[in-house]
């Protein structure tokens, strides 16, 4: 069963003007539940735009997007917020933690928007922190943690709601290879537990750990195949 289906999606900035940019230029793809997909491409290829659209952070200029067989274009702002809250967990390159809040408060935030009562919320957030081995840093603020630790907290935030999809945009981009490997390991563990993972990266080594590789260039998909058929990355 298809979880995600894009049909001929365009994202065009400054359309019709001289400086028109086609960040996505007729992209069609589908992703099934439980897949581990790496989207690979050079910077400026449109891979981040793809993730923003897949994660309902942005809307396509043209084309249809079906999430769980529902046309996203028909959804209200409130329903889109609900999808970002319950269906998708984001992991960004820049971590995107709120600096005024401690680790646990950051992880609790998506649960707050779900109106989960305090006690249960704390347990769920603590559980998520434990899964990324960050429970002893629960009361630290982001600026008191290393990059790798911050990224692990960000992952904890993404998984706290038990969202069925994790979208990670260059999650290891700002980390050294050892901490990067650790973050990747966490993503693989989540995948083995049934979570659908969409990993955006420019790094072939990281992409090569995925089950399926989608290569994107100038807003177009130029390759979409299982890892085994992708050859050297």
């Amino acid at each position: 069963m298809k979880l995600i289906e894009l049909k001929d999606v365009y994202k065009i900035y400054n359309e019709g003007m001289e400086n028109e940019v086609r960040a996505l230029d007729g992209v069609s793809l589908s992703i099934d539940r439980g897949e581990f997909v790496a989207v690979i491409g050079a910077s400026g290829s449109g891979k981040s735009t793809l993730m923003n659209i897949l994660g309902c952070l942005d809307i396509p200029t043209y084309g249809d997007y079906y999430l769980d067989n529902e046309d996203v274009a028909d959804l209200t702002n409130r329903e889109l917020a609900k999808i970002r809250n319950k269906e998708v967990g984001f992991v960004f390159q820049g971590y995107n933690l709120i600096p005024e809040l401690t680790a646990i408060e950051n992880v609790e935030l998506p649960l707050i928007y779900q109106n989960i009562p305090v006690g249960k919320r704390y347990d769920m957030a603590m559980d998520a922190l434990e899964r990324v081995s960050m429970e002893d840093r629960a009361d630290h603020r982001p600026n008191e943690m290393s990059g790798g630790q911050q990224q692990r907290v960000a992952i904890a935030r993404a998984i706290a709601t038990k969202a069925p999809i994790i979208m990670a945009d260059e999650p290891t981009g700002a980390l050294d290879s050892r901490t990067g490997a650790h973050v990747l390991e966490i993503l693989h563990r989540l995948h083995s537990e049934g979570t659908t993972i969409i990993l955006i990266t420019h790094d072939g080594n990281i992409a090569s750990t995925a089950e399926r590789i989608i290569r994107i260039s100038d807003g177009k998909i130029i390759m979409d195949c299982p890892r085994e058929e992708a050859g050297a990355l």
């Binding site: 923003n52 994660g55 309902c56 952070l57 942005d58 809307i59 702002n77 409130r78 917020a81 609900k82 970002r84 809250n85 319950k86 984001f90 960004f92 995107n96 933690l97 709120i98 005024e100 935030l109 998506p110 707050i112 928007y113 779900q114 109106n115 935030r157 709601t161």
Partner: protein, 400 residues
């Protein structure tokens, strides 16, 4: 997200930027304090004036009538006319004056030695105290028979009694006024104990003493006491008509007027004054409100990325708006409460210094000021909040 959570977040964010929040609140504090102190002061001033008018005697009509020929005393005619107005008028008295050359003497003590001057002696009827809002504290008042029988009796004002008889009951004692002996029959209760030029620095003798003290038999000043404010207005018109039939411009002069007219014009003047001053102070409150909007706009711009993050993890437009609105409202409400504390202190101090009385802001104004602050926060917070929530998550995430 519920309101309680938004509230906690707002407090957290305000507390996180203490200096800025405090400066923003300062605008509200000054605005609220300015409005409340100004309006309280004017209200206090007004109340004080009204109290003074009332203790001098409200609903009091002063009649002046003098005839140059054709029999110059209108006392009896005026008295009879007032009797015929019994549903409007409760009392009437002639009002004569005598200023004793050597003061009122008791033994070797004379009121000439009083610090703020010797008292005026009034000549009046048995209705004098009624017309002028005096009440008897000791002994008895002037009686009708005292006037009829030319009794040499005197009722002392509280200030005079206190000066002449510090250690004994004045009732029954004999005082001397420029060689004439008067028996003290009573003392009026003090009604103006604090001021130097006290209304209690006086004494009253029967109007028939006019012949003895002033060597005259007629009066040209009278006081008529009406039952109410409305009756005062009506009685003035009637008295004016009555006197115009009695005295024309060739034979004499008359006037009828009431302090109520002063009170009314004073009242409308203070109402206008509180509007004007309150309005000016209101401008500073408005400036404070614009300060809030400014700060909220800066906050929104600064926190665009945070807004993006919140949207990415599931905040709806409504919860973003709610968060910023509550933040603005809380800043304003806290500012309003501090403003009230400042204005309560300011009102007490200013009231003591300027009006020598204890003033407090009224309950209505207190509730009004806080409610107004919150409304101010919501109104001026709405635009920045709408602005914050209208972004696409991805645009907000790009913001630094």
């Amino acid at each position: 997200m519920n309101v309680g959570q938004s509230f906690k977040m707002a407090i957290k964010s305000i507390w996180g930027k203490k200096a800025r929040s405090a400066l923003t609140m300062l605008g509200i504090i000054i605005g609220v304090a300015a409005v409340v102190i100004m309006v309280s002061l004017i209200q206090g001033m007004n109340r004080k004036t009204m109290e003074r008018f009332e203790s001098m005697g409200d609903n009091k009509i002063e009649v002046y009538a003098s005839k140059w020929w054709g029999g110059n005393d209108i006392s009896d005619q005026l008295y009879d006319y007032c009797l015929s107005l019994s549903d409007l008028v409760v009392g009437v008295t002639p009002q004569g004056y005598y200023y004793p050359q050597n003061g009122i003497k008791y033994g070797t003590n004379s009121t000439s030695n009083m610090e703020y001057g010797s008292p005026q002696i009034y000549l009046g009827s048995d209705q004098y105290s009624l017309c002028n809002n005096f009440t008897i504290e000791k002994g008895r008042d002037i009686a009708y028979l005292d006037v009829e029988n030319y009794n040499q009796v005197i009722v002392l004002g509280a200030r005079v009694a206190e000066f002449l008889f510090p250690y004994r009951d004045p009732v029954g004692e004999i005082v001397n006024i420029d060689g004439h002996k008067f028996e003290v029959i009573g003392v009026y209760a003090a009604k103006d104990p604090d001021s130097q030029w006290s209304m209690d620095n006086m004494a009253v003798v029967p109007s028939s003493m006019n012949r003895l003290l002033n060597k005259r038999t007629s009066f040209d000043s009278f006081i008529v006491k009406a039952v109410s404010k409305e009756a005062t207005t009506e009685a003035i018109t009637l008295l004016d008509g009555f006197l115009s039939g009695l005295i024309d411009s060739f034979s004499g002069y008359y006037s009828v007027y009431s302090q109520n007219q002063w009170m009314e014009s004073d009242q409308s003047y203070t109402n206008m004054l509180s509007l004007v001053v309150g309005g000016i102070a209101g401008i500073s409150l408005l400036v404070g409100g614009i300060g809030i909007m400014n700060i909220m706009l800066v906050t929104v711009t600064e926190r665009t990325r945070e807004i993006g993050i919140r949207m990415a993890i599931g905040a709806s437009r409504a919860s973003i708006i709610l968060q910023f609105l509550i933040e603005a409202a809380v800043i304003c409400a806290v500012g309003g409460v501090f403003g009230l504390v400042v204005s309560a202190l300011g009102t007490v101090v200013a009231g003591k210094l300027l009006l020598d009385t204890v003033l407090m802001p009224s309950m209505g104004m207190t509730i009004g000021a806080i409610a107004f602050s919150v409304v101010l926060g919501i109104v001026f917070g709405l635009y920045p909040a709408m602005k914050a929530s209208s972004l696409q998550p991805v645009e907000a995430l790009r913001g630094e």
